[in-house]
């Protein structure tokens, strides 16, 4: 949305441009009529071209309206016609503009009839996102009427231009055409007033403004943008329609106990997103809120289940608990033919999400209808996701991002979602192709897998990719966008605030606040979020650190608390440390989080005492409560931790425990390879050893140098294999001769690797400038060809 900030920066000059632009368009026929007598054809064409300059300048910002993108070509088209008129000395070119304008409008409106939703419906949804079936049909009809009008109006203008005196053309295009358009607009406006009652508009606005109060809506109003037979879900389990979903929700509702003040139903549904949607609606219909566990580990689920407000569990686990989802969905249909419709207002609590908190305890975050459904709608509108959109999510619907984008957004906007959650790159692209997916809701690690394993295989139907829950590296983003020709929209948010900001990877680093949300930073650099979707009125002080810009955008500088993100999941270091200390074999525990360049995010290392702590057993123990991806990669048992007298354990001391130093740079897992040159002897390859390279870790305490084995594994063999293929990989090695490791390789070194092949041998040298660091001869099983 670069255009938006541009508007904000220079409002006054832009307004003047816009007035000029409108004037030149509206008065075009009169300018032609009178100008022709006064100036003659050629000078007039050039003068008009000048008058159209403001239109050309405004071109970019005019494209923002959805569906009207075609009109952005109008200024360019006018300029071409005027140039043509001047060049060929032909009046016809000049007179063609009104017809062409009508043709463009006809195409813009006509395309929406074909692709949906119809243009008038798009306009109507700006006023009231809740469009039911009859009003949708009304919008369709009016879009068709407008198409007819543009066709006739354009045809008339063309006929007058070709076969009548200039006077009649001018009268038609400057007076009659606009009069017809005005009459049609008045008719539509008058009818719309009756079809779209003002309370609908006020309600929509209240939702957008996040105002509390008179917002009443049916819980199944969620499905109002769907016709009864519109699909809501597709995938391996078969397609399901909106009416299937209503019936299944009613089935689930009737199996649940009666609701009481604040009662919750715990949902542990990992397999089928459709089952999740049916359970959400069923629980809400019965009058409960849903409780969602922080993860699907046994201990985490038990902790939520033990809470007094949780009255039932709907699950798809193998556990022998009551209310298995398969049984509920297979039960006979609910007794009432139509599910009871009752309203709940914006403040009705709908969900409690449990997340890790920096204090160590898991934190409950309540969400009401305004927060969950209002946000889902706003997101759908803002990102232009409407009826019929097909959404594929690779993230679990138990977390806020997956819940909002993978389930609630499609239910609110008339779209449909993939039922299963594909994991591997090939599985994701297969689903997108097979089901003509349009929107992909995913996380950085999946984008990396897609980019590397399956380049160019995503279908052309894919038009938007969302990524959240962790940093997406520039490298992956650039390559993905290039290969797939689709932008990535990154989202920043949290369970407490919902979505905060977004950025398009094509247009740069800065985050733009989502609509309705504004951000500031406080003196310590914390992001202060003002949002209609917050639980309380005041701004939320987030743990994110940000640098603000004048136009309201910002750059993100990381987090300030003990929460780190690992593989997209929030992990509280305090919580994990506390859990470790609770183990009978552990006295003390401290965690170190190191940022890495991998999509996983941070890497955790744990120091525990005493030295005899049962390290192997602790891993199992951690798995009771934490996801496997969040476990420390190293558990180091020490006699005692280097705590200070006041009990504090400074980060520097902890870093020393693991033989690490910190300079603020992330820990890098890859060497940086530079250019590769052919020489008479063989090859020369340049490479850079990152200052914070993982290969330095822990081999020689306090003294970072690259061990001999790492030099072979990380530098020499990858290079020989890249050049000569599988015949030259480490596993095809018969012998190594004359190995010498004479010079030290240190962090930040720029190196050159020289390779000289001879039959089945390769002589290698690693050099730092003129100094030889290491050398040797590798003998492979088979002869190498010369690459």
């Amino acid at each position: 949305m670069a255009g938006e900030s541009a508007v904000r920066r220079g409002r006054a000059p832009r307004l003047a441009l816009r007035l000029l632009a409108s004037f030149s368009i509206l008065s075009y026929p009169l300018l032609v009529y009178f100008g022709l007598r006064r100036y003659g054809l050629r000078p007039l064409a050039l003068l008009l071209l000048l008058a159209f300059l403001p239109n050309l300048l405004l071109r970019r910002s005019a494209t923002r309206g959805s569906g009207l993108a075609l009109l952005a070509w109008l200024p360019l088209l006018s300029a071409l016609l005027l140039l043509g008129s001047a060049y060929f000395r032909s009046l016809g070119w000049m007179l063609a503009l009104p017809s062409m304008t009508n043709l463009l409008l006809l195409s813009a409106f006509g395309l929406t009839l074909w692709r949906g939703p119809p243009m008038i419906e798009r306009f109507a949804r700006l006023q009231d996102p809740d469009l039911d079936g009859p009003r949708q049909r009304w919008c369709l009809r009016w879009t068709q009427i407008w198409c007819g009008f543009f066709f006739l109006n354009g045809l008339m203008a063309a006929l007058f231009a070709l076969f009548s005196p200039l006077f009649w053309w001018t009268l038609h295009t400057s007076v009659l055409g606009y009069a017809g358009m005005g009459a049609l607009l008045a008719a539509e406006w008058w009818m719309r007033k009756h079809r779209f009652p003002p309370e609908g508009r006020a309600r929509a606005r209240a939702f957008l403004d996040g105002r509390r109060g008179e917002i009443s809506m049916n819980p199944l109003g969620l499905l109002r943008a769907h016709a009864p037979d519109s699909p809501v879900a597709f995938g391996a389990g078969g397609e399901k329609s909106a009416s299937d979903l209503r019936e299944d929700a009613a089935r689930i509702a009737q199996a649940l106990p009666e609701a009481s003040e604040g009662s919750h139903v715990l949902l542990v549904l990992k397999e089928d997103r459709y089952a999740m949607a049916a359970a959400l609606l069923g629980v809400w219909q019965r009058g409960h809120a849903v409780a969602l566990p922080p993860n699907t580990r046994r201990e985490a689920i038990l902790r939520v289940r033990e809470r007094p407000e949780v009255v039932a569990v709907v699950h798809d686990t193998g556990a022998g608990l009551p209310l298995r989802i398969e049984e509920l969905l297979a039960s006979p249909p609910a007794r009432q033919a139509k599910p009871a419709s009752f309203s709940f207002d914006a403040e009705t609590p709908l969900a409690t999400l449990f997340t890790s908190a920096s204090t160590g305890a898991s934190q409950a975050q309540g969400k009401n209808a305004r927060q969950l459904l209002g946000e889902a709608r706003l997101l759908a509108e803002h990102f232009g996701i409407g009826p019929g959109a097909r959404i594929v999510a690779t993230v679990s619907p138990l977390h806020i991002y997956g819940l909002l984008f993978g389930v609630l957004l499609p239910l609110c906007c008339g779209g449909a979602f993939l039922r299963e959650t594909p994991l591997h790159a090939e599985a994701i692209s297969q689903r997108l192709v097979a089901h003509r997916g349009e929107v992909l809701v995913t996380v950085p690690v999946h984008l990396r897998a897609l980019e590397q394993l399956d380049a160019k295989s995503l279908p052309p139907s894919l038009r938007r990719v969302f990524s959240s829950a962790g940093p997406l590296s520039d490298e992956v983003a650039t390559r993905f966008i290039e290969a797939q020709q689709v932008d990535i929209t990154e989202l920043l948010g949290s369970t407490e605030t919902g979505g905060i900001a977004y950025r398009s990877r094509r247009s740069g680093e800065r985050w733009q606040p989502l609509p309705g949300i504004s951000v500031q930073s406080d003196p310590e650099g914390h992001l202060l979020v003002h949002s209609p979707f917050l639980a309380s009125a005041g701004p939320f002080r987030s743990a994110d650190l940000a640098e603000m810009y004048e136009d309201g955008s910002f750059t993100h500088l990381g987090r300030s608390d003990g929460i780190v993100k690992i593989a997209g999941r929030r992990v509280s270091l305090a919580e994990m440390e506390e859990w470790l200390r609770r183990h009978p074999g552990v006295d003390d525990a401290a965690l170190l989080a190191l940022p890495t360049d991998r999509e996983r995010g941070h890497l955790l290392l744990a120091a525990i005492s005493p030295a005899t702590a049962p390290v192997a057993e602790l891993k199992e123990y951690l798995l009771e409560r934490f996801d496997a991806s969040c476990l420390p990669k190293r558990l180091l048992a020490l006699e005692s931790l280097p705590r200070e007298a006041n009990g504090k354990l400074p980060r520097q001391a902890l870093l020393r425990v693991f033989d690490l130093q910190e300079d603020g740079e992330p820990l890098l897992c890859e060497l940086r390879w530079g250019e590769r040159m052919r020489t008479p002897e063989g090859y020369r390859l340049r490479l850079q050893v990152p200052r914070h390279y993982i290969g330095f870790e822990g081999h020689f305490p306090g003294y970072p140098l690259l061990p001999a084995a790492t030099q072979l594994e990380a530098i020499v063999f990858p290079a020989t294999e890249r050049i000569w293929g599988s015949r030259a990989r480490a596993e095809a090695l018969r012998a190594m001769q004359q190995l010498k490791f004479s010079g030290r390789i240190l962090p930040g070194d720029a190196l050159e690797l020289r390779l000289a092949p001879a039959a089945q041998q390769v002589h290698f040298e690693i050099r730092k400038g003129d100094a030889l660091c290491s050398s040797g001869i590798l003998v492979f099983d088979a002869p190498l060809d010369h690459g």
Partner: protein, 91 residues
């Protein structure tokens, strides 16, 4: 000095997933990699898939059900690699 695919896989698993406290030879060939056993998770599976592609030039299946079988153990992974490489014509 040629290693078996199983041994290469074990090394690859330890390196790719930065399993600091596990030695390649400690990984049992037929033991499950995910869930119990090493306790790897879905993100690990993705990273492993990338490493396998790089090291062996193989790609996972378009069907996650099949992928779950492939990624069950070192043995199932090795069988899958042999099968995919056997079907390719080596230059």
């Amino acid at each position: 000095m040629s290693e078996s695919i199983e041994d290469r896989l074990k090394k690859l698993i330890v390196e790719t997933l930065a399993l600091e406290d596990v030695k390649p030879e400690e990984i049992e060939t037929e033991a499950p990699l995910f869930g119990e056993g090493l306790g790897l998770d879905s993100i690990d599976a993705l990273e492993l898939a990338l490493a396998l592609h790089e090291a062996f030039g193989v790609k996972t299946a378009p069907d996650d059900e099949r992928n779950r079988e492939i990624f069950y153990s070192v043995k199932s992974l090795a069988d899958f690699i042999r099968e995919s490489q056997g079907s390719k014509t080596e230059p």
